[in-house]
Symmetry: C2
């Protein structure tokens, strides 16, 4: 990938520009950035609660708002954000231009509400940069070949930031957010969670996909593919945060880099699934057709030639899944279908997990000591995930974090000089 020296992409999330005062603060921050950066592209989410407000409005007029019209509605949120930030920058004497996804050629497929970026025509952006302007781009949205406006799903602005950074060959993609960087746990649950100064793309992707809200996993994947370093940092300060980049991560020495959790999940269990080849494929293909993402799949060994399939999915997808499940029962694919909405997921993530024996057991023991029952377990090279009752989640995160981080030295202190 050709790199453009001096070009940085900064992405600001909704809380970073949650009020007119915050928009002004971000404008000032951008102005300061221009002292060290030649060319700046800024990707923004909708301001504060705008997206939630628009969703609430949609639910007031429609029982099931979705599809094309829903995307057109939601996309207005980022349009408000870019133009407001543009006005604030111009008022501060910073030449700036704000562009919608349509205006800067962010092409997506036609999957409304959950579109994927296919290409970015960078000519308009490059032209504006050549003209000496800060270019502000709507995150979260795109346009199809037939001029329909699409949105990329929750956290989609991270994906826009990464894709724009990749397309432009940016030196870095700054993810400016409301925390100081990537932490070892959610600081609202674990106040002494540690910030990492560096980590690998793989660690970031695993953390992000297992519930850490700080970064969308697809954004990390895109930056990994195109070799764009990511800098997750606070939009409230100019301090360095966490650098995510390729190469021997300093974090390889840490066995566990984070404890993540996800409270808004549900568990679906199919009992006595018919034992014929392709059943699992059939089940999950049908869910995929309904655009339902599955977080975990656990299939237990068959007993009496009938298997049990359990899967974990986001709460919001349960109703959609249940529609599919009705057919499975009717066609006797499974004897019964159980749904449990009161479950949560806790995971530990680390590149050392696969090669360090006993880490999973330490997690299980920490939970057991607290009398927290583990419902199911799924593990991979870099992650161990446990499903537990939701009511135990906060306590579980605290004890598991304590188990792995109590005795370790503060990681940031030792490597702070490699940041920024």
């Amino acid at each position: 990938m050709r790199k453009t020296p001096g070009l940085v992409v900064q992405k600001y999330g909704g809380t970073s520009i949650g009020s007119s005062a915050r928009v002004i603060a971000v404008a000032d921050r951008i102005k300061r950035s221009l002292q060290t950066v030649d060319r700046l592209v800024v990707v923004v989410s909708a301001m504060g609660s705008t997206t939630d407000d628009l969703v609430a409005l949609a639910h007031k007029v429609s029982r099931e708002p979705r599809g094309r019209e829903m995307d057109l509605l939601l996309a207005s949120g980022e349009q408000i954000a870019v133009s407001t930030l543009g006005l604030a920058l111009q008022d501060r004497g910073v030449p700036a231009v704000s562009l919608t996804a349509a205006q800067c050629g962010i092409r997506t497929d036609g999957v409304f509400n959950l579109a994927r970026i296919q290409s970015i025509d960078t000519r308009r952006i490059q032209g504006e940069l050549d003209g000496g302007r800060v270019v502000i781009i709507t995150g979260f949205q795109g346009i199809t070949d037939s001029h329909e406006i699409t949105t990329l799903g929750r956290g989609g602005s991270d994906v826009t930031g990464a894709a724009v950074a990749a397309a432009l060959g940016a030196e870095a993609c700054d993810i400016c957010t409301d925390v100081d960087g990537v932490l070892s746990a959610d600081p609202r649950l674990v106040p002494d969670a540690r910030r990492w100064a560096e980590m690998s793309y793989e660690e970031a992707i695993e953390l992000a996909s297992s519930g850490a809200k700080v970064l969308h996993p697809r954004a990390a994947e895109i930056c990994m593919s195109y070799g764009v370093p990511i800098h997750v940092r606070s939009s409230f300060t100019d301090e360095a945060g966490t650098w995510i980049r390729a190469g021997e991560s300093i974090m390889e020495q840490a066995e566990v880099v984070g404890v993540t959790s996800d409270k808004k999940v549900a568990k679906v269990t199919l009992l006595n699934v018919a034992d014929r080849p392709g059943i699992a494929a059939e089940v999950f293909e049908e869910l995929a057709d309904r655009n339902i993402s599955i977080r975990l799949i656990i299939q237990s060994a068959s007993s009496e030639s009938r298997a049990r399939i359990t899967f974990i999915l986001d709460e919001e997808f349960v109703d959609g899944a249940l529609e599919a499940l009705d057919r499975w029962k009717a066609e006797q694919l499974a004897s019964d279908v159980l749904v449990d909405r009161d479950v949560a997921k806790i995971s530990i993530v680390g590149s050392g997990l696969g090669s360090t024996p006993g880490l999973a057991a330490r997690m299980f023991k920490a939970l057991a000591r607290e009398g927290i029952n583990i419902d199911c377990i799924s593990s991979s090279e870099m992650k161990v995930a446990c499903v537990i009752a939701s009511r135990h989640l906060e306590r579980a995160v605290k004890v598991v974090h304590e188990e792995f981080f109590k005795a370790q030295p503060q990681p940031v202190a030792g490597v702070a000089s490699t940041g920024a």
Copy 2:
């Protein structure tokens, strides 16, 4: 102009869709319309106070928000409105598609904040209508050849409605609003103001340009040029309102069709204007270059070879005008420039004014009886306008309306059957 039988354009203003409940009511109204109309195009303004809210947001981050970014910001208001109405219609089982001005090819010039529609590429609209869908279009906005989003200025959604109706050869352009039709005065000032069942385009244009808020004068001009009848009616009922169309107007019999008023105006007077040819042209050309619309110009006869020029303009333009005035004083174009922001304008409108002697005098006498001093007067074939002190305005409208309408029969009663 080729007409498309069975095709109607309905325009809904901001108060008509001022809440989610109102959006639902309008969706139901549209559904009822489809029982009598084959093809329906709906043009909407931003919901309720959305535009004002966006303007307030812009003023919080910028001392002088305007230009390209301001239009991008404001345009989001109608995008929210069309998509919300689209969701409501779809939820009621009415096939509908909502389009931005960019998506339905409403081309304007590049004058941000005050653009003019140049052409409408109706292919997308026609295609959607052919597919049996109600087409919902963002009012108030357009797109330039270089894909910049523009807005048309206050009341611009009426202009969009008229232009779309003209481009499609619609049978009628319904202006659905918060009053029952075109009235003889503002009902908030004159509770017994009368509704007309019919009037000519010319009468509507004069009424609209002299302060009646019910319809944008450019919308009436466009419909007149293309022979599209306008139906101004309430969006809260299905009752007929006021038909505006060509031909011998039933209103020709009425000497005065309306008393209009405009409180938000200011008066600028140039004293001892240099008496050389082209001075007036110079003054008003400069104001036009600044996109400042002038409502009235009164030039009194020269005394001692120096003239006095007075003009009335909207309050919002005063600051812009004063910038120009400074130069005039500096270059001794005028000895002094007086600005009075405490003035208001009251007008009587009617096609009979030019041919019926004494109507203007009756207006002046009515004002005099109340001790209301007339500051200046401007009259044309169809209108007499008086500038008075703002504090007298409400009383002035009442007494002038009483003068012309006290003894006349209720016009609507006699012709109601010709409506709808």
